[in-house]
């Protein structure tokens, strides 16, 4: 079912004063969208009962006979040479069954592993699992033990003696690039726009995108604004800490129970790090308690395998504490950003230059590459330059966090754009409508929007919203708009579908379900074949159950795995018709309104399934997909804030997000993605940051002081689902999971400016920072 024309409509989203159907407190109506039988409805997800009853098994819930418990010893120093490790006392403690260090890892190849939304050199991934010769951040894993219970394991790591030569820590962009800065990685050389440098450095890469004529562009500007911004390290903040359970059998077969965004990613990384054939490893997905990009890299799984092997094949479970999660798993990059934009008297952007300095953490690979695609992407700009810098510092190695790199970049763009609007006396929505990107425009690296995109539609939706047209009422209240872009992703998906004799269909796929995707995949299959959603039973399988499947991330799952589901629905229907034509001895069989008809014969779907099973071989179909093109996402958001001038506290009064969602398969889960991303962005804007002391040790490694938003900090989040279908997907699906986190920091910075006249150049805009900035004014 190809979509040939752009259809813009607003699906039944929520508003601030009730729900989608305006009826007090009941849930929104569950009717399918017009023209569909299943798509657009809001059925209960198939794994829902297990999750509300506590029956669902997450990583830490795995129970196995003979299970040992592991613990990791971590570096107290931000930067140190490891001189020696003595594990003898730990090994002698009764109840300890195995101890491992970096010396137990095979030498890692100097090759790059593609992890989907990021890539990493295997040498560095290996050193991040267990330190090689240096401890590179507070919390870096140094050794691990397995014991009969977790308390004995805890005691054992306290008995491991490590001799460190402490080195000065390098904590920020400025520290890392200073003359004579201490060097983190002896072999690192700068990739300077494709040419490898020769000097030791902390600058892993500098790249540049450029088009047009920068000098002419700025010369043509009536107004030019240039600002420097700083953002701090923030963590994905999933409520479930990392776990890894593994059993290394004496015959070499390895089983891993992983709470992960990608079973195949776990398998590949573990195979590479430990030098084991991929086919020896089976990864079984448990349910996952949040990922947001942070559960793609492995941390504990290879350690569990190593410990199990040393313990004679007993299974070993490792679970991180919250402090370990914050200290030692990938947060996203803090950054320094310089943004310079010029516009003519009408507000049309004539030139823009962005410099993005991103902190990669201990090993190269910050999301500065993706950031360079996001920054300025919502706007049509002829003369543009983006310089990106990937910089190592003594912080945990950064990992993907929902539209990685995008939020920092958009904060800078949206702030400067509002400053220009104000100087020209233009409304903040108007300047975005004037410059907004459309089909045919290009993002900074030159990639073109070849299909219709929804940026302007989302700005328009905000401008027409009840929120935008309701005036503010108080003195220190302010309103800010921001836009954002995310490229989304296609990626590889594999799935099978089995017709059961009772007319149900078992659907096996391998996209681990972080947010309800099992439902949207089953819905697309049901729509394609023409049966009810309840007849489809989706399951997320292990790495032996289907062919390779890319991670659940990059906003690809409903799109790509949904495409495989669609293909299978179409194929299964075709095969059923063929079989019935044979059984009934007719030329052609039709299927409509739930019935197969051919000649004088008819059968319901259930009857047809029973007939097919009675008369011939079972019916099973499969699909593997790798869509090379996919629809990007755009979002425009509106924030109302109130600032307390005495404390600097910022209250979110009202928040509306408009997003181009392509086609909302299950609107409740689309709304959920929008609301979730917004709230993470609000935390990023107002409170979340890593605070280190002068020795580079993390001071706020707990959820008390790493302050994420609570229910009390927020109003309802109003959602406007704009649908500009993506023509390259049978149902017009666009990825929806990530773009929503890109605008909030910019929107809130703009709202705070509107409320106080203070332009915040540092994020988070926490009470202390805001008070200081207001005091200086």
């Amino acid at each position: 079912m190809a979509v040939t024309e752009k259809a813009v409509r607003t699906a039944n989203g929520t508003n601030g004063h009730g729900n989608g159907n305006g009826n007090g407190h009941g849930p929104a109506t569950s009717k399918p969208a017009e023209g569909y039988n299943v798509i657009g409805s809001r059925p209960v997800r198939p794994d829902g009962v297990d999750k509300v009853t506590g029956r669902a098994i997450y990583g830490a819930d795995v129970r196995l006979q003979g299970l040992l418990y592991g613990k990791v010893l971590r570096s107290p120093h931000a930067h140190a040479r490891i001189l020696s490790i003595d594990t003898s006392k730990a090994e002698a403690l009764p109840g300890v069954k195995a101890v491992v260090t970096g010396a137990d890892l095979p030498t890692a190849a100097d090759k790059v592993e593609d992890l989907g939304e990021s890539a990493i050199n295997l040498k560095y991934l290996s050193a991040n699992i267990l330190a090689h010769d240096k401890a590179l951040y507070h919390g870096h894993a140094i050794a691990a033990v397995a014991a009969v219970d977790s308390h004995t394991a805890e005691e054992a790591i306290g008995l491991i003696e490590v001799q460190y030569e402490v080195l000065p820590p390098v904590m920020t962009v400025n520290d890392a690039l200073a003359d004579n800065a201490p060097i983190l990685l002896d072999n690192l050389r700068t990739n300077e726009m494709g040419e490898m440098g020769t000097k030791p450095t902390n600058l892993a890469q500098h790249f540049r995108h450029q088009r047009g004529d920068m000098d002419a562009g700025f010369a043509a500007a009536t107004v030019i604004v240039e600002r420097n911004f700083r953002t701090e390290t923030v963590h994905q903040g999933y409520i479930e800490p990392h776990t890894g359970t593994a059993q290394h059998n004496i015959d070499g077969q390895v089983t891993i129970w992983a709470s992960t965004q990608g079973t195949f990613a776990v398998r590949n990384q573990t195979a590479e790090i430990l030098g084991i054939p991929v086919s020896n490893i089976k990864v079984i997905p448990t349910e996952i308690g949040g990922g947001f990009g942070g559960k793609i890299n492995v941390y504990l799984e290879p350690v569990a395998v190593m410990l199990s092997k040393k313990a004679g094949g007993k299974p070993v479970k490792l679970v991180m504490s919250r402090t370990e999660v914050l200290q030692a798993t990938g947060p996203t990059s803090g950054s320094n950003i310089r943004m310079k934009i010029g516009a003519d008297a009408n507000g049309k952007i004539t030139a823009a230059h962005a410099e993005l300095y991103y902190e990669a953490g201990a090993f190269p690979g910050s999301p500065v590459g993706a950031a360079a695609n996001v920054v300025l992407a919502p706007y049509a700009i002829d003369n543009l330059q983006v310089d990106g810098y990937d910089i190592v510092v003594n912080r945990p190695r950064s990992a993907a966090y929902r539209a990685p790199g995008g939020t920092n970049a958009a904060y800078a763009t949206e702030s400067v754009l509002n400053e220009i609007a104000e100087k020209l006396g233009l409304d903040q929505a108007h300047i975005r409508l004037l410059n907004g990107a459309k089909q045919g425009d290009r993002r900074p690296d030159g990639v073109q929007y070849t299909e219709p995109v929804g940026l302007l539609e989302t700005v328009q939706a905000i401008a027409e919203s009840d929120h935008y047209n309701t005036p503010l009422t108080g003195k220190y209240q302010g309103r800010g708009i921001a836009c954002g872009y995310w490229n989304n992703w296609g990626g590889k998906s594999s799935a099978t579908a089995i017709l059961n004799a009772d007319g149900t269909v078992s659907l096996n796929e391998a996209s681990t379900d972080i947010g309800g995707s099992r439902a949207s995949i089953a819905m697309q299959f049901a729509e394609a074949i023409g049966i009810g959603y309840e007849q489809v039973k989706p399951r997320v399988g292990d790495t032996d159950s289907v062919a390779y499947n890319d991670v659940t991330g990059g906003s690809r799952t409903t799109f790509s795995t949904g495409m495989a589901a669609y293909n299978m629905g179409v194929e299964m229907l075709a095969q059923m018709k063929e079989r019935l034509a044979d059984i009934w001895d007719v030329e052609a069989v039709e299927f409509a309104g739930g019935s197969f008809t051919g000649g004088d014969n008819s059968a319901s779907f259930e009857q047809a399934a029973a007939l097919i099973y009675k008369t011939g071989e079972p019916l099973m179909v499969s699909s593997t997909v790798f869509p090379r093109s996919f629809g990007p996402g755009f979002s425009t958001q509106l924030a109302d804030v109130e600032v307390d001038p005495e404390t600097g506290k910022v209250t979110i009064l009202r928040y509306t997000i408009a997003q181009d969602v392509g086609r909302a398969i299950h609107p409740s889960y689309v709304e959920g993605q929008m609301q979730g991303g917004v709230v993470q962005g609000i935390g990023w804007a107002l409170n979340e940051e890593y605070i280190y002391n002068e020795k580079g040790q993390l001071l706020n490694g707990s959820l008390l002081d790493y302050r994420m938003p609570t229910a009390l900090d927020l109003p309802m989040i109003e959602t406007i689902l704009v649908e500009v279908p993506y023509p390259g997907h049978p149902y017009g699906v666009r990825g929806v999971g990530e773009v929503n986190i890109v605008p909030p920091v910019g929107a809130i910075a703009n709202a705070i400016y509107n409320a106080t006249g203070v332009r915040m150049e540092e994020v988070p805009m926490s009470p202390a920072r805001l008070l200081a900035a207001m005091g200086e004014k």
Partner: protein, 156 residues
């Protein structure tokens, strides 16, 4: 191994006896000794609410309760709130409102909301948000959770 003590408790209406070390928390015993993994650990120090249970009818973070404190007391966990033949209204409404995405915080929210509605059967939106401020969710932004709880309350 440290010496273990015997604790006699009533968990979800059943007389339950267990052995534990005095240093083990109620959360650890529920999960690792009794196999009741519905109650989750998110932070280990009372800041996220994923470990919420009711102890003698009072909402607690079980990561901050020693297992020996359950001696002679009743404990209610997520495994114990559904009736024999269906779901508790909170469980039902969480599903209908799509008030969960990854679901790891859901048992804690449901226990916490149950405690709220026993304490205040007709809360305002602010009352709900204030009470649930001790339960962190990173996926939903809380909007649909608050709606689900208000929906259950509106049936009272």
């Amino acid at each position: 191994m440290a010496k273990k003590v015997m604790v006699q408790s009533v968990i979800n209406g059943d007389d339950t006896a267990f052995l534990c070390e005095t240093r083990q928390t109620l959360l650890e015993v529920l999960r690792d000794e009794l196999g009741m993994t519905g109650t989750k650990e998110g932070c280990g120090n009372g800041n996220c609410g994923a470990c919420n249970v009711m102890l003698d009818g009072v909402l607690v973070n079980s990561c901050l309760v020693l297992a020996v404190e359950a001696e002679g007391r009743t404990v209610t966990t997520i495994e114990g709130i559904a009736p024999a033949d269906g779901l508790h209204p909170l469980q039902q409404k969480f599903l209908e409102h799509a008030a969960l995405q990854c679901g790891i915080c859901t048992p804690g929210f449901i226990i916490s909301s149950k405690a709220l509605l026993e304490h205040n059967p007709n809360p305002s939106e602010h009352d709900v948000r204030l009470w649930l401020a001790g339960n962190l969710c990173r996926c939903t932004g809380y909007d649909k959770i608050v709606r689900a709880v208000l929906d259950v309350a509106s049936a009272n």
